[in-house]
C-alpha cells in the first residue's frame, strides 16, 4: 500500500487560510489502511482545524466527506455537488489522489493534507516500513525477495558497501543493512550461489529517472490513440 502521514495543523491552516468553505476529503484506499486519510482521520483533522481557525478568530466552514478512492474518476462523481460548493478541497489522499482530484475539478483549489511517504507494509501495529521504490524493473527474484533498490540505502545491486556494521547501515543505525538481509535470506534458502553471478547493469531509465511514466495496455483500452 501507499503509506502517508498527516501534515502539521499549522501548515494546513496557512495553506487553507484564504478559503472560506473548505471540503476535507478522505480516501477509502491505502490511506485509510495506514490510518492517515480515512473517514476517522477526516473527522479528527476537521475538528483540529476548526479549533485552530477559531483560536485565530477566523471563520471558516469546514465540511467533511470521504469517498471510496480518490485516484479513480468514477468515485469522484459521488461528491460533485460538495466539491462545487467548496472554495477549496483539502485532500487526504496520497499524491496520486490529490492530483486526480485536481485534474477532475480544474476550477477548484485542491491541497494535499498528507505527506506521501512510500510504498510499504504494516510491519507491526503503528509501524509502516518501505518495501518498494517502484523502480520499474523488479529484481526481487535474484536477491532472495529482499529488494536491494529499496532496502540498501545506496541501492547497490552488486554487494554491500563498506559501511555495513553489525548488520546495520552507515546511514543510520535504525536502518538494517539491506545486503545483510539479502545474504541471510539467500543463505537460509540455500541459494547463496546466486550472489556469484555478476548483476547486470540496471536500467534506471525504467524508474522515475526516465521521466514521468505510463503503463499502456492496448488490450484493455477503449479509446485508441488517433
Amino acid at each position: 500500500m501507499i503509506v502517508a502521514h498527516r501534515k502539521n495543523i499549522q501548515e494546513l491552516k496557512a495553506m487553507l487560510a484564504p478559503h472560506k468553505r473548505i471540503l476535507i476529503l478522505g480516501c477509502g484506499g491505502c490511506v485509510t489502511v495506514c490510518l492517515a486519510g480515512g473517514e476517522r482521520e477526516v473527522g479528527l483533522l476537521s475538528s483540529a482545524l476548526r479549533i485552530a481557525f477559531r483560536l485565530d478568530g477566523e471563520q471558516h466552514e469546514i465540511v467533511e466527506a470521504t469517498i471510496e478512492r480518490q485516484c479513480e474518476n468514477q468515485f469522484m462523481e459521488d461528491i460533485l455537488e460538495e466539491v462545487e460548493k467548496a472554495d477549496a478541497v483539502l485532500s487526504l489522499a496520497c499524491g496520486a489522489g490529490v492530483q486526480a482530484m485536481a485534474e477532475r475539478y480544474p476550477n477548484v483549489a485542491v491541497y494535499p493534507g498528507l505527506d506521501t511517504k512510500f510504498i510499504g507494509i504494516l510491519e507491526e501495529q503503528g509501524v509502516w516500513a518501505e518495501k518498494c521504490a517502484a523502480c520499474g524493473k523488479c529484481v526481487l527474484g535474484a536477491y532472495g525477495t529482499v529488494c536491494p533498490v529499496t532496502r540498501c540505502s545506496k541501492a547497490l545491486l552488486s554487494g554491500p558497501c563498506g559501511g555495513s556494521r553489525d548488520g546495520r547501515c552507515e546511514v543510520s543505525p535504525d536502518i538494517e543493512c539491506g545486503w545483510q538481509l539479502i545474504y541471510n535470506r539467500l543463505k537460509a534458502l540455500g541459494q547463496l550461489d546466486k550472489l556469484l553471478e555478476p548483476a547486470p547493469l540496471a536500467d534506471w531509465s525504467l524508474g522515475h529517472e526516465g521521466g514521468c511514466r505510463k503503463v499502456i495496455r492496448e488490450d484493455q483500452r477503449i479509446r485508441t490513440e488517433p
Binding site: 502539521n8 495543523i9 499549522q10 476517522r40 473527522g43 479528527l44 475538528s47 483540529a48 482545524l49 476548526r50 479549533i51 485552530a52 477559531r54 483560536l55 485565530d56
Partner: protein
Amino acid sequence: MSFEPKILALCCHYCAYAAADLAGSMRLQYSPNVRVLRLPCTGKLDTAYILKAFERGVDGVLVAGCLEGGCHFQEGNLRAKKRTGLVRQLLAEAGLEPERLEMFNLSSAQGQTFAEIVDLMTDRVRKLGPSALRKESKEITV
C-alpha cells in the same frame, strides 16, 4: 465575576464512575465544575469525543480509567492513554493548551482520589483561564 471552568470527566464505569459514586456516599466535597460522562470502559473513548467537547467550549477534559493492569477489558485504559496523547498533540498543534486534557488512573475504591483529581483539574484550568473557544460557543448544559 470569577471564572468557573467547565470540565468534562469521561469516566470508566468500572472505576472512576464508581469512585465518583463512592465520593458522594462518603460526603466528600469537590469542585462542582465537573460534568461526569460515563463510558463502559475508557477503551470506548473516541478521540473525536474530546475534540468535539473542546469545539463546544469546555475548558478542560479529564479522562479517568482503571489503574494500569486493572482494566476490566484488559487494555482499554492503555488504549485511552494513547488516544489522549494523540489529542494532546493535536490540541498543541492547533494552538490550544494541551494541559487542558489529562488522563488519570484510579480504582473504584478511590473516592478520595476522584475528588482530588477533580479539584486538581479545576485548579489547573482555572489558572489557564477560559478556553478561547468558549466565548463563541453556546452555553453548555450537561
